[in-house]
């Protein structure tokens, strides 16, 4: 399973008529896209156009955008989300690389125990202990801070295992060569390991970026100050813009909130799949 795309081109050639596949795939793609297409339509309409069930783009895109971006400071929420996602994802990647390096290229006492200690956290989802965490982090006085959104999520058992698995499958003489050159562990990591790990790093980056960007429960608990909230939570304040529910701005905001992870995911799709193949092979 060396990457999806090269494999696909060799296998599963359709013989005979192809149009039934084109028709059914187009239909499926349309059904999957329907909620978003419908939301895009609503996003351009004014309240009265929505209630008349007009099926053509409306006239209110500009005012909806102003209501969302300027009046509701959605721009600020987007910036908060960008900061949180980039910091968490970058931090997780670095910490996971270091952990993978320690697990594969060092012999030390109690390694099996430490490994088990990290492994067990795979069955400890944050959501299960969110009440205790909420109380504890509030006790630190971290409410409404970026610290509370970033620091608790910096370590990743998934990431540590992904890199451990990947490093363990690299040729063993990489280290010997590096040791002859007298490289330190950090130099070995940056000069040797990282250059041969870009696909795995990219895969982890996409998974974690999308995951962090889409976080809702924890930010909704720990950040109560509206000016500091992330987009997923800011959406909720938009369900009520001017006393009554205004659908247009809400749909537009939902679309805007989805653009960064969607672009990121589509651009990185190929690397993601090949990095994923490395992880799954074992």
């Amino acid at each position: 399973m060396a990457g999806l795309t090269p494999g696909v081109q060799r296998r599963g050639m359709v013989r005979g008529r192809k149009w039934p596949y084109h028709v059914s795939l187009t239909l499926t793609a349309f059904v999957i896209a329907f909620p978003l297409l419908y939301a895009s339509l609503i996003a351009t309409q004014s309240q009265s156009e929505i209630f008349s069930f007009q099926l053509t783009p409306g006239s209110a895109l500009r005012s909806n955008f102003e209501a969302v971006w300027v009046k509701r400071d959605f721009a600020g929420a987007m910036w908060n989300s960008v900061q949180m996602s980039v910091l968490v994802t970058a931090g997780k990647t670095v910490l996971s690389l270091l952990a993978g390096l320690a697990f594969v290229y060092f012999k030390f006492r109690f390694k099996w125990f430490i490994f088990f200690f990290v492994l067990v956290t795979l069955m400890m989802p944050t959501e299960v202990m969110i009440l205790a965490m909420f109380r504890m982090v509030s006790g630190f006085g971290w409410q409404d801070t970026m610290t509370a959104l970033v620091v608790p999520f910096l370590a990743s058992a998934t990431g540590a295992f992904l890199f451990r698995q990947h490093f363990a499958n690299l040729p063993g003489d990489l280290l010997e060569a590096a040791q002859i050159d007298g490289a330190t562990p950090i130099k070995f990591l940056t000069r040797v390991l990282i250059p041969v790990s870009w696909n795995v790093i990219a895969a982890l980056f996409v998974i974690q970026f999308v995951y962090t960007w889409n976080m809702f429960l924890w930010p909704s608990l720990i950040v109560r100050d509206e000016s500091r909230s992330v987009v997923q939570v800011a959406l909720q304040t938009l369900t009520n813009t001017e006393g009554a529910l205004t659908y247009g701005p809400l749909m537009l905001a939902a679309i805007i909130a989805s653009i960064p992870p969607a672009i990121f995911f589509v651009l990185m799709q190929k690397r993601f799949m090949s990095g994923f193949a490395i992880g799954q092979d074992k």
Partner: protein, 459 residues
């Protein structure tokens, strides 16, 4: 009462060694017995024997015994690992432990610890410490932000369960008995016979009986008890709905899309993009579609079919269906992505035979493709379940907020409602512990079935 439990533990220890150890000795029987008693004694000591106090009910005794048995068993598992090490056996498979180093930097002993320390510190402070605190909180009545708390022992748990301790023991035992009986039945029959078909049916019924037993164990409410049965039922219905719809849909679409035709890569991108959409946005989009006044669904049902669909936020079945649809739609892209990758590992000539041979397409699909995909199906089952347990929170919060009458309030939603919105930390923590036990159960089942597999969950 406490003594009874300790005596049982003292007997359990040697029994455990006798069943699991290859070369048992008098010494080992003795050690195991002591370890089991020590393990069993830890929890009542830590909790001040409150489970056996004069005001404790039968259910409290039962929970105290259960906790003792669990601690005792954990201690015995530790002892077994030590015995196996002494015998020179590998504790677990190489992939599970850290024994795969390809080489070693010969440097100060502290270097790997420095590399690992950031990860370990974060895990201890933000995962292990809150986990322990969740257990402590679950035995207290304490309010958010209030400094004082009262110890209530198992009170937060027993109010979620039925009050009859005998039924509480009997129901799970019956269900487990049914599972083992069905397994025995399956083993006694040979494949392809009518007997095996009955046995397979019995196995399914036995699995369902586990869900029913759990339902019967939770309290229906009334008499100072908390009605937890509805929450359990909502969680089961919504999770099963999301997983079933998301996975079968994902497999069907992946099977359609993995064939090589012009523009295949574009189709694949158009099919998997909802992976990047958040559960909150999924909630917003379906909130719009199903909106009773402005939504397209209700309007078109009325105009095209003349059906007046009731407001989904006031109808339990419609509300649950709406949540399931929104969540299944969101997880669909993820499932298609992984099934597409999984289909790459199916022997190609067999798939082609399945495609060409129109008459038996379904049969071939069942006999060739499904079995080859089963590791992937299993992996997705666990990740989808995790999604349906936790990520569904945001979708519910946008679409129904638990309405109508709590019919879409699943376990995680209820935890936040009780613990944060009502500020009742202790009760919320007790419900968290229940969910924790469910997650541990699912994970152990996953490890047992598939060995160590790279997980792409979230954290």
């Amino acid at each position: 009462m406490l003594i009874l439990g300790l005596i049982a533990a003292a007997l359990l220890g040697p029994l455990f060694v006798w069943r699991t150890n290859d070369n048992p000795s008098v010494q080992r029987y003795g050690i195991a017995s002591a370890v089991a008693v020590a393990g069993a004694a830890v929890t009542p000591l830590a909790m001040g024997q409150c489970g056996f106090s004069s005001v404790a009910t039968g259910v409290d005794h039962l929970l105290a015994y259960g906790l003792m048995a669990t601690a005792s068993l954990l201690a015995l598992l530790g002892a077994r690992a030590l015995f196996d090490r002494a015998d020179g056996k590998k504790v677990t498979s190489g992939a599970m432990t850290g024994e795969i180093s390809t080489g070693g930097f010969r440097m100060g002993w502290w270097v790997p610890w420095v590399l690992l320390s950031p990860t370990l510190v974060i895990l201890v402070v933000f995962l292990y410490a809150p986990a322990v605190q969740t257990f402590t909180l679950s035995t207290q009545l304490t309010r958010l932000g209030a400094p004082k708390s009262i110890d209530v022992c198992f009170g937060n748990f027993s109010e979620l369960l039925i009050t009859d301790p005998f039924k509480l023991v009997a129901y799970p035992l019956l269900a487990i008995g049914a599972v083992y009986a069905a397994r025995f039945f399956v083993r006694r029959t040979s494949p392809g016979t009518a007997g095996r078909r009955w046995a397979d049916l019995a196995a399914v019924v036995a699995m369902l009986s586990v869900f029913v037993a759990l339902y019967a164990m939770f309290s229906p409410g009334g008499g100072g008890q908390v009605a937890y049965r509805p929450v359990y039922l909502n969680t089961v219905i919504i999770s099963v709905g999301i997983v079933a719809l998301g996975m079968s849909g994902g497999l069907a679409i992946a099977y359609l899309a993995f064939r090589q035709i012009g523009g295949g890569a574009i189709y694949r991108t158009l099919l998997i993009w909802p992976y990047a959409i958040s559960p909150a946005v999924a909630g917003v989009l379906f909130f719009m579609i199903f909106d009773p006044t402005a939504g397209i669904f209700q309007h078109s049902m009325e105009v095209v079919f003349g059906i007046d669909v009731p407001n989904y936020r006031e109808n339990a079945v419609l509300a649950q269906t709406a949540i399931i649809l929104a969540s299944a739609w969101k997880i669909l892209g993820y499932n298609i992505l992984f099934y597409l990758a999984g289909l790459q590992t199916v022997p190609i000539d067999q798939i082609e035979a399945a495609i060409i041979d129109g008459a038996g397409t379904w049969q071939r699909f069942k006999k060739v493709v499904l079995p080859a995909l089963s590791p992937m199906t299993f992996f997705l089952l666990v990740t989808n379940l995790t999604y349906a347990f936790f990520e569904v929170y945001a979708t519910i919060d946008f679409m129904t907020k638990g309405a109508p009458a709590g019919k879409t309030s699943v376990a995680i939603y209820e935890i936040i409602r009780v613990g944060v919105n009502n500020g009742d930390l202790g009760r919320g923590a007790a419900q968290s512990v229940l969910l924790f036990i469910a997650i541990i159960g699912i994970t152990l089942w996953q490890f047992r079935t598939s060995g160590s597999r790279v997980s792409y969950g979230g954290s």
